[in-house]
């Protein structure tokens, strides 16, 4: 039995606390994530998928319950502090990279994720060969544009870069928030394939939100459905392999009723 790397226990997250607009987004949510899990997360709009990510990453504080990393509570740690073990890729290509900094400078920033940054020279040149090799693995010409400001890259290149930045320094937990959704179908597929390869090669523990049932079924060893702030469906291993689109559809239509 593998030990869980991250546990969410009876997590309740509210927004607009103590105002008439108070909303409870996560309602007693429980989730136990094992090391090496690649979990695809499905759920309709407003179900709480992004709230779950923001709660894990520390953008939102929890109202009750606990979040444990390898048995230790991290519920009171700041967003910045949690980046020691956690990285994420956002849906919007604009959010993941610094537009006026070059591709190499962005990658260099990511090599020091969660570390203190000192008044020591950055040593960009020493990293160039490594960055060149890493980016050529993405197969989209990123390796030719290391000295280009990321603002002039295509959306696909930016997302590939964001993904590389998130995995450059191996995170304990990787959060992918529909990171291929803003891309055209072909680019989206290419990035998804590259993503899957890298997650398997590095044996990363990953949570991926997606709206593509195909991707949710095809990738990962575990599938979770969130609805109304709770985990309502959780399959892994063989059971997930045998899952079909029809079964998922019927599950979703059951939820609607």
């Amino acid at each position: 039995m593998t030990k869980p790397i991250l546990e969410l226990k009876h997590v309740v997250t509210k927004v607009n606390r103590n105002t008439p607009e108070e909303l409870t987004l996560l309602k007693d949510l429980n989730l136990s994530i094992n090391e090496g899990d690649f979990i695809t997360i499905l759920g309709s709009n407003g179900a709480g998928k992004s709230t779950l990510f923001n709660t894990i990453a520390g953008n939102l504080t929890i109202d009750s319950g606990d979040i444990l990393l390898r048995g230790e509570s991290i519920a009171n740690e700041s967003e910045e502090r949690r980046t020691r073990f956690l990285s994420r890729v956002f849906q919007d290509p604009k959010l993941g990279t610094a537009p006026r900094m070059t591709v190499a400078e962005n990658l260099l920033l990511a090599t020091k994720r969660g570390e203190h940054r000192h008044l020591t020279p950055r040593h960009l040149k020493q990293h160039m060969a490594e960055f060149k090799e890493m980016t050529s693995g993405m197969g989209n010409g990123l390796n030719e544009r290391l000295t280009t400001p990321t603002g002039s890259l295509s959306g696909g290149q930016r997302q590939a870069l964001s993904f590389l930045m998130a995995t450059l320094k191996k995170p304990d937990i990787l959060l992918l928030d529909e990171h291929t959704a803003a891309l055209d179908p072909k680019t989206s597929q290419e990035l998804m394939t590259a993503t899957n390869e890298r997650i398997i090669a590095q044996n990363l523990t990953c949570l991926m939100i997606t709206h593509h049932l195909d991707d949710a079924l095809k990738y990962g060893n575990r599938l979770v459905v969130i609805s109304d702030g709770k985990i309502t469906y959780d399959v892994s291993g063989d059971e997930k392999q045998q899952l079909t689109q029809e079964k998922l559809y019927s599950f979703f239509s059951d939820l609607q009723e």
Partner: protein, 302 residues
Amino acid sequence: MTFGLGVSAIGQGLLWATLGLVLFLTFRILDFPDMTVEGTFPMGAAACVAAINNGISPIWATLIAIGVGMLCGLATGLLYTKGRIPILLAGILVMTAAYSVNLRIMHGRSNLTLLDKPSLLKLPIFAHAPMYFDSVFLGFTVIVILTLVLIYFLQTDLGQAFIATGDNEKMARSLGIKTDNMKIMGLMVSNGVIGLGGALVAQNDGYADVNMGIGVIVIALASIIIGEVAFGELTMNQRLVAVTLGSILYRFVLLVVLKLGFNTNDLKLFSSVVLALCMMVPVFRDMFNLKRVWKRGISTHD
């Protein structure tokens, strides 16, 4: 006479370039306008002149000016990051409060002179400098040191985190950069140097005045933007040098304005007009491009 005025303009340009250089940190890198400057600049001047009048050496007095400037920056930074007050208002609050503090520093007087008192410009090393060259030497030394320090800083891990904060705050935070600390640091460093600028200008002019801060943000921004308009696409390091050149150019523009017969009371109007025109250059460029597109649209293919 004209030569003397030219040299004086270069000296003034160099001394004032300190403001442009560090305003670059907040205005261009962190990407927000810091109004604190208008209170910090006279505070640096007042603190320095008051300290010298109290028998403190000019070097220490100048360091005190840097210190009070940093405190102003810290105040704005805390109001902005921890107090969640919009940066423009946070700066205006500190700037307004600084006015009263400055009057306190100057014992209730609006003007404090350095008559017959020592200053950095009267240091023995400047004793043999020809007229006006003392400010050129002092300004040049300060600018070279400041530019080199900034170039080094921006190439460090901390400097890169600082740039990332201004470029994409959400990304910076997701990489573990404490963006609040970066902003406070930027405001403290920039206001510290603006305090220094106030001290240098006061020692050059021979007095501190409680109203000498009015419009300094326009002058500092003018040196940044004139530099950008005059030299176009540049690397980060070249842009820092361009600020100093922009500051000197700006002084020459003022010299021409005065030569045309306007008096010094008109200078603030001209400062604003010059800055506004320079900031509208991209708009004018677009208009001209548009014309070319129209011309192409109606021209026949032959």
